[in-house]
């Protein structure tokens, strides 16, 4: 996992509420045994028509979406299935952060584990972002702030431990393995 400090990018806006993980990546793409190459299946049923041709009107198919690393989505993105293929597909496509007023629990957790930054903002900021697609944002992880083009800074919540892992590009497995004495003691107490 690459360390994250600052993400600077234009936004792609998908205003729909409750974008579920079946939309982010439909189940038929889950019969894979690796985590690579899922970007082509990202939002497959919204991106392509029944013949497999791209729907030109869909936001990710527009030329201005190219190179964008920040997805601004409607409330409650990532609801539904626990498939980690959802953040894998978003990352493989090129996204590094997802911004919304609410991000579903399991998707949020899975995103943090893979270096896709979940950014929860207040409704006023969210409304402004939805109304201004394509603006350039700066997300600063050390200070947990999102900077708008007018210079306004908005703080977002992030768990201190997750922030440490993301900034240092380390996963939690090393930390958990380091708890083996405590785990053994627990197993000794409880059987």
């Amino acid at each position: 996992m690459d360390p994250i400090t600052v993400i600077r990018s234009r936004t792609v806006v998908m205003p729909s509420t409750n974008i579920d993980t079946d939309q982010i990546i439909p189940a038929r793409f889950l019969t894979t045994t690796t985590r690579e190459g899922l970007g082509s299946a990202l939002f497959a049923d919204w991106r392509y028509d029944a013949s497999g041709a791209p729907r030109t009107e869909f936001v990710l198919n527009r030329p201005e979406a190219r190179g964008c690393a920040i997805l601004v989505a409607g409330r409650n993105i990532g609801c539904g299935s626990s498939r980690e293929h959802a953040p894998w597909a978003l990352l493989d496509f090129g996204f590094r952060a997802v911004v919304s007023t609410e991000i579903a629990d399991i998707f949020r957790n899975n995103s943090l584990k893979n270096g896709l930054l979940p950014v929860v903002v207040d409704e006023a900021t969210h409304d402004w972002l939805l109304a201004h697609p394509g603006v350039e944002l700066t997300i600063d992880l050390p200070s947990a702030t999102l900077r708008l083009p007018d210079g306004r800074e908005v703080e977002f919540p992030i768990e201190a431990f997750s922030r440490y892992c993301l900034m240092n590009g380390v996963d939690e497995l090393g930390y958990l393995l380091g708890q083996s004495a405590a785990i053994e003691a627990y197993e000794g107490r409880t059987g």
Binding site: S16, D20, L30, T31, N110
Partner: protein, 469 residues
């Protein structure tokens, strides 16, 4: 002593290291269930890092998601039709063999949907922490376990350390007074709850379902309710264990036996929310007012009584998009809408009592012309029992397809899909766009409502067909 909720009691029993402002809790996991779709990349991580599975005795694998339900492909020597699914199944077999994980494999009589077999084997027990790389792990909370879905990275963590790093969630009490009417099921109740609190109403919370209507439910019904907690955004739902729970578990192969059983039950009796314990949020509902429910939109919160109409929400573009996908009009009556497919199955509603209820409707009747009805038992043991009790013959005589167990048409990974534009009344848990196949239109309902739609070819109030309703 402070009064505690059921959730707090189970959580505290599993704190290896309590949380601090800087670090999440290290939470011990008693039972890790795993399947073919969300585990391969986790086993790869173990291999890359040279790690072993820490507790083989707490890890159980099966195959359900991409697994065929066609008897010939499982028992008849016919190759699995989907090559990628076949590869995934082989990969799970290899991973389990290499790491020593117990696998209830393709032809094992105990195989089935992971959330059906855990309880069936008696591996799911009150007070346990249970995880699986599947969001419907919430099902096991029906036993008073703390059970929740995790991603593949966390599957790897649990394999390697038997632990997870977790922040303590908030608690939401859902108190259900009264009693469900005849022909109204746990599925209708949970759909009504999600309709009221919304698909994000439980985000960040563990739900405890309480009250007389919940206590009156069978374990199958409680599992249906807890199963769909995630559809309200809650990772876990719980019901306090009681005599119904103990009677279900007694003498199951993996439940404690003999003296150990008596000790376990005495301990499990303590797993109730204390009087005066405080929940972060509370929601109340009267079961007597719940009618048979059906969804009309593209998330489980878009739900109405079968006798009702599609709501009108002028100016709501997301709502309009959902209705356009569903081919429905605002204000339209749901009853009598023609359907093409009926699916009775999934971890929500494929236990024996679900099949019994469906069989009551199918008995002596035929699937309507032009309708395809698929009945997929939740496990091979459910299948066997349904065959022994004559339920399977009722489905076959009615003209429904009777399959091997698996997730099947709930998510259409194994080739069991609904065609573009077709309406499917489904006993599963998600009506998301494309969930049952690209362009498929899912209408979630109870097994009774699904079976009634199958025999009439139209959305129907199941109480027309249920004895005593």
């Amino acid at each position: 002593m402070t009064a505690k909720t059921l959730f707090q009691k189970v959580w505290e029993r599993h704190e290896v290291v309590p949380e601090t402002p800087d670090t999440p809790a290290v939470l011990y996991i008693d039972l890790h269930l795993t399947h073919e779709v969300t585990s391969p990349q986790a086993f790869s991580v173990l291999r890359e890092r040279g790690l072993k599975v820490r507790r083989l005795d707490r890890t159980l694998a099966t195959m359900d998601h991409s697994t065929p339900t066609d008897t010939a492909q499982i028992f008849g020597g016919v190759p699995i039709a989907l090559e990628s699914a076949a590869r995934q199944i082989r990969q799970l077999e290899q991973n389990c063999a290499e790491f020593g994980v117990e696998l209830l494999g393709l032809r094992d009589g105990r195989r089935g949907i992971v959330h059906i077999i855990g309880p069936e084997l008696g591996a799911t027990q009150p007070g346990k922490t249970i995880v699986c790389g599947d969001s419907h792990t919430s099902t096991h909370g029906a036993f008073g376990a703390l059970a929740f879905g995790i991603g593949t990275t966390e599957v790897g963590y649990v394999l390697a350390t038997q632990c997870l790093l977790q922040r303590k969630p908030k608690t939401l009490a859902i108190e259900v007074a009264g009693r469900l009417g005849p022909g109204v099921t746990a599925k209708d109740l949970v759909l009504a709850i999600i309709g009221r609190i919304g698909v994000n109403g439980g985000t960040g919370h563990v739900i405890e379902y309480r009250g007389p209507a919940i206590e009156a439910l069978s374990m199958d019904g409680r599992m249906t309710i807890c199963n769909m907690s995630i559809e309200a955004g809650a990772r876990a739902g719980m019901v306090a264990p009681d005599e119904t729970t103990f009677a279900y578990l007694k003498d199951r192969p993996r439940a404690p036996q003999g003296d150990a059983w008596e000790r376990a039950v005495a301990d499990w009796r303590r797993l109730r929310t204390d009087a005066g314990a405080v929940f972060d949020k509370t929601f109340q509902l009267d079961a007597g007012a719940v009618e048979p429910m059906i969804t009309y939109g593209t998330n489980p919160g878009m739900v109405a009584p079968v006798s009702g109409r599609v709501p009108e929400r002028p100016g709501d573009t997301v709502f309009a998009r959902a209705l356009a996908y569903m081919g429905l009009q605002p204000g339209e009556s749901l009853r009598e809408k023609p359907v093409q497919v009926v699916f009775i199955g999934s971890c929500t509603n494929a236990r024996i009592s679900d099949l019994e209820l469906a069989a009551q409707v199918f008995a002596g009747r035929k699937v309507a012309p032009g309708v395809r009805a698929l009945v997929v038992p939740g496990s091979q043991q459910v299948k066997q029992e349904a065959e022994a009790r004559g339920l399977a013959q009722v489905f076959i005589d009615a003209g429904a397809e009777w399959r091997e167990s698996g997730c099947s048409m709930c998510l259409g990974m194994n080739g069991d899909t609904v065609a573009q534009g077709s309406y499917c009344v489904s006993t599963s848990n998600r009506n998301f766009e494309g969930r049952q196949g690209a362009g498929a239109r899912t209408l979630l309902a109870s097994p009774a409502t699904a079976a009634a739609a199958a025999v009439r070819g139209r959305i129907t109030d199941p109480r027309e067909f249920i004895h005593g309703a």
